[in-house]
């Protein structure tokens, strides 16, 4: 598991670094929200799940999708708007989904996916399955009423869902201290949901906390809330690379890098094994880039394909 967690954080890091290059070169249009710095959260949470479980993700979602096992080539192709993308180029960076892996989609509306995950988890249980849902969101989402409503429904109905708050300190540029009255875990506890603050830079700590929440959920005891304290090393969105917003100091960002999840987990892996993982990840991403760049662009004539699941009544 030590090695696997390292591989996951390394894969996410290198995927994101390469994706930023593809934004700069114009292969990815519209930019991305890089997950760099937060990799331990996705890696730890997803490592605690079974293949039959489900997740929902956010606008900063590549890490979740990769940690859940999606094919990097198809994710990269999705970011490039190609036909071989996870969503056939119809979703892009903020909507990557792979239903075959229980990835019910990244969601571009902050706070929206918590209630979707709650409904999905409830429905799985209703159908006799022991599925657990993990739903990711940021500190910004803690001020969305829709998410607070979801906490209430999940607690009332003992829904098997793990609420994963990635507190990276900022809602875009708004510091959490200026945005959240009271405390983040206090809000979850107010609904009777057990809530814990976890070191979100350490994948093993995230994994351990998630695993106990998952056990609790599978035992029918309802939701758990995890506040994973983390730090976004890069931009809110790649547009920041051009606009150079000044909402945090270079000293603060440097301090963030001092707790790099890739180094924290990498230090637990023997040097030779780490080098082997790194080489395997590079080869995988080289192949992913080749595959994505070689994939067809969707046909404009099919721009509204998939708009309806029951298209026969449309004319």
């Amino acid at each position: 598991m030590t090695r696997d967690l390292y591989r996951t954080v390394r894969l996410i890091r290198r995927f994101e670094e390469r994706a930023i290059e593809f934004v700069r070169s114009g292969e990815i249009v519209g930019g991305i929200h890089p997950y760099i710095g937060q990799e331990a959260v996705a890696a730890g949470v997803c490592a605690a799940l079974r293949p039959s479980d489900v997740i929902t993700s956010t606008h900063r979602g590549h890490g979740h999708v990769l940690a859940r096992g999606a094919d990097p080539a198809r994710l990269l192709a999705e970011l490039m708007g190609r036909e071989s993308g996870l969503n056939k180029g119809r979703g892009g960076s903020m909507h990557a989904a792979d239903f075959g892996l229980g990835i019910l989609g990244a969601n571009a509306i902050v706070g929206a996916a918590g209630s979707i995950a709650t409904g999905a988890a409830w429905a799985h249980r209703r159908q006799g399955r022991d599925t657990v849902a993990a739903t990711f969101f940021g500190d910004g989402a803690m001020n969305e009423g829709m998410l607070l409503e979801a906490f209430n429904l999940a607690a009332l109905w003992r829904v098997p869902v793990i609420f994963v708050c990635e507190n990276n300190g900022y809602a875009t540029t708004m510091p959490v201290a200026s945005a959240v009255a009271g405390s983040i875990t206090g809000r979850a506890r107010a609904f009777g949901i057990p809530a814990f603050t976890v070191d979100g830079q350490d994948p093993e700590k995230v994994l351990a906390a998630t695993a106990s929440g998952v056990d609790r959920a599978r035992a029918g005891k309802g939701p758990t809330f995890l506040e994973c304290t983390t730090y976004r090393f890069d931009a809110h969105h790649t547009f920041e690379h051009r606009t150079r917003l000044t909402y945090r100091s270079t000293e603060e960002v440097s301090a963030g890098w001092s707790r790099d999840p890739v180094e924290i987990q990498g230090a637990r892996v023997a040097a030779a094994e780490r080098a082997a993982v790194d080489a395997e990840v590079e080869a995988l991403l080289d192949a992913a880039a080749g595959s994505a760049l070689g994939s067809a662009h969707p046909d404009p004539a099919a721009a509204l394909e998939y708009l309806y699941a029951s298209p026969e009544v449309m004319r």
Partner: protein, 323 residues
């Protein structure tokens, strides 16, 4: 047997739940059936399939989307039409977009039912809207049945459809009772209108409770030698363009009566579709709520901003005189 519109909706829910264990209901005060829509269903299907929700419309609308992604067919009752404004994001931006945005990986078969849409007489500004045009505009399948048989048939079809569908049951139609053999109740396909009354001089397009008004006006005008055809599209989106143009090819005159605000409302769309495809003997007319109308409370004011029979008669005379 007499069957009321509201009872027909209730029967459709019961039949859909009996047919498919994936169908379940959620909403506010539905176990006691405050609106009567869900009467008897708690006893018949149990609390697992008739879910009373807290007043959390945004979360429980997304909750239904999540349940649909996991294989269920949720039906949400909204007690008040204006609640649809509160969950417009969850329907238009979430449920509706999942199929395309995921490249067809999933479906979201959720049905949203509003028993008592439009003016309810005395419920004032925030309980009296009729926002079906908004859902048509964003491409969400939307129906407004006019009769008990259509209320049954369209609700059944909405639940069976693999996409989100909004079902508006106008307050003014809920009490309509028709003599029906229950065995004749069948699903009514989405997107197919009906000629509610054949005629030759003018086509009146009407939806929901306004179909009754249009039929009354047609009766009245037949006494003075005017033959009115009443076309009920039944589905707002997708509109039955073929049914509409077939009727207009016969009558070459058009009046639309529509309980929407005027600008960008359903009537505007019908006029535009007709203008693109048909030739007229006189300019078409529409009878609607005024632009940007907020329904005032006092009864006389409430009635003053709703499209009614008098306005319809005036509009019909206008299109006939200009021929």
């Amino acid at each position: 047997m007499k069957l009321s519109y509201l009872k027909a909706l209730n029967r459709a829910l019961g039949d859909a739940m009996a047919d498919d264990p994936a169908v379940f209901l959620l909403g506010e005060d539905i176990r006691v059936a405050a609106s009567s829509l869900t009467a008897g269903l708690l006893g018949r299907f149990g609390p697992d399939r008739v879910l009373d929700t807290p007043l959390s419309e945004q979360a429980f609308t997304n909750f239904a989307t999540g349940a649909a992604l996991a294989g269920m067919r949720p039906v949400i009752e909204f007690q008040i039409p204006s609640l649809l404004f509160l969950v417009f994001e969850q329907i238009a931006n979430q449920a509706h977009k999942f199929s395309l945005m995921t490249g067809g990986q999933c479906k979201v078969p959720v049905t949203y039912v509003v028993p008592g849409s439009g003016s309810r007489t005395g419920w004032a500004g925030q309980h009296s809207d009729h926002p079906y045009s908004l859902f048509a505009h964003v491409g969400v399948k939307t129906v407004v049945p006019a009769t008990p048989a259509d209320a049954y048939g369209l609700l059944v079809s909405a639940i069976r459809d693999d996409d989100p569908v909004v079902v508006f049951a106008p307050s003014g139609a809920l009490g309509i009772r028709d003599d029906l053999d229950f065995g004749t109740l069948v699903p009514v396909p989405l997107g197919v209108g009906r000629v509610a009354r054949p005629g030759s001089d003018v086509t009146v397009v009407a939806l929901g409770h306004l179909v009754q008004d249009a039929l009354s006006v047609a009766d009245e005008l037949s006494g003075v030698g005017i033959s009115v055809e009443v076309f009920d599209p039944r589905t707002v989106y997708p509109l039955d363009v073929d049914g509409l143009t077939t009727s207009l090819a016969r009558t070459r005159r058009l009046v639309v009566i529509d309980d929407s605000n005027r600008t960008s409302g359903f009537a505007a769309e019908v006029l535009a579709v007709a203008a693109e495809r048909c030739e007229f003997d006189s300019p078409p007319r529409r009878v609607t709520r005024p632009d940007g109308a907020v329904l005032p409370f006092a009864l006389a004011l409430d009635r003053a901003v709703q499209p009614g029979r008098d306005h319809l008669v005036t509009a019909i005379h206008a299109v006939l005189e200009k021929s």
